[in-house]
Symmetry: none
Subunit: 295 residues, 5 copies
Amino acid sequence: MSTPSSGATARLGRLRSADAGGAILVLPYDHGLEHGPVDFLEHEWGSRPASILDLASRTGIAAVAAHLGLIGRYYRGTERNVALIAKLNGKTNIPESSAPLSPLTGSVEEAVRAGADAIGYTLYVGSAAQERDLRQLADVRRDCERLGMPLVVWSYPRGSFVDAAGGRDSLYAVDYAGRVALEMGADVIKLNIPRRHDPELGAPPPAYLELEDDRSLMARRVVESCGEAAVIFSGGSQRSDESFLAEVRLALSAGAAGMIAGRNIFQRPLEAAERLIAEMSACAREAGGAREGPA
Amino acid sequence: MSTPSSGATARLGRLRSADAGGAILVLPYDHGLEHGPVDFLEHEWGSRPASILDLASRTGIAAVAAHLGLIGRYYRGTERNVALIAKLNGKTNIPESSAPLSPLTGSVEEAVRAGADAIGYTLYVGSAAQERDLRQLADVRRDCERLGMPLVVWSYPRGSFVDAAGGRDSLYAVDYAGRVALEMGADVIKLNIPRRHDPELGAPPPAYLELEDDRSLMARRVVESCGEAAVIFSGGSQRSDESFLAEVRLALSAGAAGMIAGRNIFQRPLEAAERLIAEMSACAREAGGAREGPA
Amino acid sequence: MSTPSSGATARLGRLRSADAGGAILVLPYDHGLEHGPVDFLEHEWGSRPASILDLASRTGIAAVAAHLGLIGRYYRGTERNVALIAKLNGKTNIPESSAPLSPLTGSVEEAVRAGADAIGYTLYVGSAAQERDLRQLADVRRDCERLGMPLVVWSYPRGSFVDAAGGRDSLYAVDYAGRVALEMGADVIKLNIPRRHDPELGAPPPAYLELEDDRSLMARRVVESCGEAAVIFSGGSQRSDESFLAEVRLALSAGAAGMIAGRNIFQRPLEAAERLIAEMSACAREAGGAREGPA
Amino acid sequence: MSTPSSGATARLGRLRSADAGGAILVLPYDHGLEHGPVDFLEHEWGSRPASILDLASRTGIAAVAAHLGLIGRYYRGTERNVALIAKLNGKTNIPESSAPLSPLTGSVEEAVRAGADAIGYTLYVGSAAQERDLRQLADVRRDCERLGMPLVVWSYPRGSFVDAAGGRDSLYAVDYAGRVALEMGADVIKLNIPRRHDPELGAPPPAYLELEDDRSLMARRVVESCGEAAVIFSGGSQRSDESFLAEVRLALSAGAAGMIAGRNIFQRPLEAAERLIAEMSACAREAGGAREGPA
Amino acid sequence: MSTPSSGATARLGRLRSADAGGAILVLPYDHGLEHGPVDFLEHEWGSRPASILDLASRTGIAAVAAHLGLIGRYYRGTERNVALIAKLNGKTNIPESSAPLSPLTGSVEEAVRAGADAIGYTLYVGSAAQERDLRQLADVRRDCERLGMPLVVWSYPRGSFVDAAGGRDSLYAVDYAGRVALEMGADVIKLNIPRRHDPELGAPPPAYLELEDDRSLMARRVVESCGEAAVIFSGGSQRSDESFLAEVRLALSAGAAGMIAGRNIFQRPLEAAERLIAEMSACAREAGGAREGPA
């Protein structure tokens, strides 16, 4: 990897939402593979890829992340105001694995042909399968550089060692996952907002114990460990509007470049989803846009 | 591998520090991947790749070793007096593995494009995964030769057999690791200064017992086993200035071509780090520069 | 071609002479192929590639440009303070051709292995063979980008059309040649300082007639046509010290990034050559270094 | 594989020692990788690759076998009377493996560039990893044929099945290993001189029981199983001059094409090593040269 | 092209004749293609490739140069003391061409498989086809480097411009041809001993007129223009023993590394040829071996 090409820079800019003051607002839509249609049962519109693209097109959502199968079948290239992040690896949640690894579901070249503006990759930091994961990511990054595609890494702490250090959302685990993504060459890093470790699982390295502060400070620390890469925090599983918007404010005030929210969008009635996106965009505008950075 | 090309020779020369009388002084900076941000918690400047490059640019440090992700995001090519060693494989420390192997995180060609002057590779001698490790290293070396890039091998004894022979830092283990790197074609070999074996773990081959002498003589033996490849010794984990400089003197008087020091640099206040580098450079100048050799 | 990589930027920096305040000072040494040994007859030292490398190593000359055959036989990689521009195409002056084209004499990959810091290419703008020339140059530029190598284009107006428009050194012809090199992706462009057209040959487009001013203004115009690419002007065939240094001052005051001088160096006694280089370096320092720019 | 090319035949001829009446005399020098520097502890000269090459150059040793890393660093191409066998696979002895496989440490093309005259490959017949081993060997042989390089196979019986049949040096095991190498296309096969099976380990197929005769006859049988491929027997671990020379006589009288001796050479004082080589060469001359054959 | 590999150095050494004090003595045998069997009409043995190989094997001739067709049909690899130069391009003398170019008749890889020790290439300096010739040579040289094969260039001035400058054997023409071969990366350069220009054809550049001295000084000048490449002079068409040996002495005293003689060998009775080779070898021994140099 070398200096970002003009292509990577130009395409990265398309992940930023003008409506949200330049924040990166991503709607991930790979749940059909990762969780199955169970995620769409309550609100049927959410099961229809065309509805998702249409929603993104009409709102402050800047980009939709999906596998090439969906992109190939639903994306026409005529949709306005929606960038595509081609998610290039993924897996189901059956069977559960103690050594998770998301195999490739496509290539960077296919993503370019399909009109994607960025590449998405899920990395399981701490997995017993990390040897193949890091190598696979390095290959994807090389192709991203060759074709001027920005790289968005979903960096997830996983595995028994992570659990034994206090769980996958602990500051220690999230901080490490963010840094690994930076060292591997991510342009944008998707993380969960860290929280205090779970003492029933285990304890992180001592130095992290005293850093376990309020979530806002922990979020800020993680953003700093990611350096000049842009951080987007996950909205996580479904919650109330108020609770979700509080997360958005916390994330942006901590220096995140934006948010990534799926279930909090499509697990609502369509109108409620649109309203929430509008409020999220307003939050982001008020937060003065995203933090400075290369993204 | 054949006779070193003029490209490999010219680039190897850039790892030598004029300020240190020609000794190779390397600042490794892959801890974010290998250990996580925990290594940077105490001194925040050390978490910033730009600060590391700037420090190397202003001091006797001749080269910084980092993964392509960091190089791509932070190295501009306008920094003066700092050569880059692109670290091409690595892993996290989670999970701990009884069969460690660092997968590739990039390619020699990407490193050349990024402006690297040398390639770094971590080899785990004694790991149950050595079959893949040696093959992977052979492929990297072939590309190094094709593009005139010198090869720096971090040669680490690891695994249960190494432990059962008295531990990873025993003279036996380090001596073997150095020789393996030479046979595989390393231009520069990074080793720990050997020490007496740990009798609680086990015992090395009898012939090594009588060679377990003072550390200076053990270091010299290891340097000789590496033949015409240049040896650089590790400064190891953080220690006092006096203790660190004693290691530097021991290493250089034993015939090492230089030192590699990371945590002893960035786990100090910036001013203390600069002072220590100046003293290390002075030690090296006084030691009459590095030993003769191909590097 | 996209944004210059950090590798291209770093290597381009090596063409700048610290001794000359950052100006690019190149000694071309492909005359043995282009003209034959006749250029070396008067001063025997100039026929010896080792003497040329040694001279560049000891003086403000930052880079030597030569074909891979000479580089392979004479460059050891241990020479200090001399960057190499691998000249990748060339031809003899026999037979004279009305459709000149310099065929490839090597590849970018070979140049990288040999330790070159930049690639040199001769383009004949206006030649009846330009179809193959532009295609060949595009291929070289693609490999330059892949391996982070800056591209120096010798851009020469040639052919009957050029003659009929007033000659190869007219403002019209040089201005066009410079712009073609910029459009093709040159990082550095080697041009002759333009002069008034030769009315016995023909006349340039009318708009150029009124631009034919003093040589300093014409040189400045050409530099501006090359935009952010760095221009280096040729010293041309042998002339007196005073006359040569006047050219240097004219070139640098017109905004050139530096000079390229071969016959004015090696067609003098060695001591006179060293003295002239020292004076040229002083001129460049006084000129406040080279103009700003990407090179 | 087809009829040996003229290149393979010419290069194979260089493994024959004129001083030894045309016998193949090989000094293997891969112990630094296979066993570590422990093999060199007693006689320091043996740890230096340059001393090994020099010794071979001055004596009846026709060829040295080493990995490309050593060849690249020590072989200059100016040494007289010494052919090189590039050992293309190898492993350490840590950890011990129940499924040994020596991964590739280089390629046939690299060996040709380095100036090697033959390729060496270690095959573990009976290893649980033989599936990959045979495939890897087939690939190496294909490249050998493409580039006219003779193939020397170190054919070692290994694994629990071999043990259960009476051990790795039994006539049954060695005979099988030799034949496998022939079927895979070896030009030269390195074997240990077989001995009676170890009844404490197990028993070979009944037909082999009655063939377990004196070692000379067993050696002859193995040579015949290798057909027109040339057999060289190993000198094994260190023994007295008399004992070693008896092995040489036994081997050559049994029809072997020559000997391969490492530790019996470099684990002696240099003068003793030279004397032993002279005596081994004399033995070979007296034995009337090696048996007839393609090698 | 980079620093010569150990393979290129080792193989180049095989072109030197021990019997001739280290001089390079080559018997070219491509006349069947270049001139047709007419060259063999007088002495029938010379038409038989096997006789040529046998002669070289028994005398001080170190190498035979031939096309792959002949090598494949006649060379067995069992011939002793004869190295092969695979001539990789050639042409007939019908039709005569004003733009001569010898197309490829094989590849470097085929030559390696056949057991060749060097590659031969004919370059027509000054030909109207030089564009394709230089490019073709550059490709051959790249493969030579990849496979460690030394490159012998037959560098022939040709074409109307060469004629108009005084003929193909003038000092000017030969001097230029030698230098072009050096710049293109030849290890060994085959030239004719230059003579005064033919004023009926035309005149060389004035600077060469005053250099037209006795043939010994002109030969020395040409050797110096070839720098560190080894020059071998041609024996030319058939002449008397005395006249031929005078050429040999002149060549070696002028600094040539050796001789190349075909028609002066095989256009004599076999016994006379053997006697002449013995005398040529003696001349070379007396001349103190070949000049110093990389070959």
